[in-house]
Subunit: 249 residues, 2 copies
DNA sequence: CGCTGAATTGACGGCTCTCAATGTCGGTGG
DNA sequence: CCACCGACATTGAGAGCCGTCAATTCAGCG
């Protein structure tokens, strides 16, 4: 299995499909971004917080390399993951009316970020740009809501993997083989599933030949079937459905 | 039971709690809003679309009276409700990069809206205002994700009712008694539950004395308990929990 | 008065959570 | 080099919540 996880960022975006988007890259390459902004770079090691919920916010970030997890903590101390950000993704725009962080962000691995002061958007009269960036975030939220409300475990896992694949692909990496930078626990917290369910579902997908999975390494073997499972019930002729009796494998 | 559903909009906002917010009212009353804007009013009867997913978008709306449902349609033709908008709420800011509607919006009753061209935000260099408005929307989305991912049916229904109560209260209406402008079907589509589950849960809450419900009329009798159920597992001493055996009522 | 759609109520099955044990990998120290 | 350890992941068994199907009731309306 070949793993496409890399430590550098693609120089240019591929054609961006509607799913992903490379607004972050555009930002990094836009003429308005002066050199001193580009140098507002920040490298964090694994499991370091970029910011925490409630902190004062005056900037947002673009991922240059690595990955970031956005999450919030429920009243009973549990964690709810809101999203994962890959190279080219923008995050940190979700602030309250009083400019405080609405969520926390933590790196999942060694990560390089570029910091953009909020003032940057006001200065350049980039109001429409702002709408465009937040649009991306809203689209993500909508997708997450859709998954949580209307899909079963199979659909959620399949959607999650398909989404990752598409996003990697749109950034020039392999859509078939990649490394998961997040733990099973994180995936479960994101999809509203127990860790065990995540693990079991991945195993079953593997048994059906849809994908190959080993720890953090994932290789998608049958992307069509994966999408069928992700979409609500195109019913891939019973493939990969849970069986009550014994496994025929 | 006294019902607080009214046909006029409150003249002034009460103290806005963090949950709700009256940015819409502030918009309507801000000095930058000229009279011609205020006259950009639009009255719709029940079940009329304000806009549909995919349409070109050049404006957002503030609810003056009535209520609006935001939703999108899944691949298999089912509906996913994203939110309900009450008087004072802003909606219609969720547009794609190419300025197309990301969701549909339909009135739930006779509704009066005020239309704000997107250009309005750019003109007044209200970039920060924009961020503030979208913040409200993001907060809602986060809450919805939290409910869908981490709460059971009881918690979702309780949260839903508590949220409605708070929003009505912050707008000067009764927080204890109000009319639901949406059907059970809509509530289910919003919370990711079957209609039957919504109905059963409401009935059980009523049997426990937490609330009184009759069709669209709701009166909250024990707001504390409702909040305990809404919060994840403060465990209100078993109150209102489903019972396996016979009802003691 | 009958019709229609919404809402309620009941029975049943299945998906997923919980609890628990086992397996695996990476790091640490002897 | 090897044994041990802790974190993560996998696998199994059982229970319960909720979705589905179905029947019934109720409100509104011509």
């Amino acid at each position: 299995m070949q793993i496409a996880q890399t430590s550098h960022i693609a120089h240019q975006c591929h054609v961006c499909d509607p799913r992903g988007g490379c607004l972050g890259m555009q930002l990094l390459e836009s003429p308005g971004v002066t050199d001193h902004l580009k140098q507002a770079r920040r490298i964090s090691r694994k499991a370091e917080h970029v910011f925490r919920e409630g902190e004062d916010a005056d900037a947002f970030y673009v991922v240059r390399s690595g990955s970031v997890k956005s999450y919030l903590v429920t009243e009973d101390g549990e964690e709810q993951v809101l999203g994962f950000y890959l190279p080219g993704d923008v995050f940190g725009l979700d602030t309250t009316e009083t400019d405080q962080r609405m969520s926390s962000a933590i790196t999942l691995e060694t990560t390089s970020l570029c910091r953009f002061p909020h003032a940057y958007l006001a200065d350049k009269s980039q109001g429409s740009n702002l709408l465009r960036i937040t649009a991306e975030q809203m689209q993500r939220d909508h997708n997450l809501v859709l998954m949580l409300a209307r899909k079963d475990a199979d659909g959620r896992i399949a959607s999650f993997l398909d989404d990752l694949a598409c996003r990697y692909w749109s950034r020039g990496y392999s859509a078939s083989a990649f490394l998961l930078s997040m733990s099973r626990q994180d995936i479960g917290c994101y999809l509203g599933l127990a860790v065990e369910t995540v693990s079991r579902t991945l195993t079953r997908f593997q048994d059906c030949g849809v994908l190959q999975v080993n720890r953090r390494e994932v290789e998608i073997l049958d992307h069509d079937t994966l999408r069928k499972i992700a979409g609500i019930r195109v019913d891939a002729s019973g493939c990969c459905k849970k069986v009550v009796g014994l496994d025929s494998a």
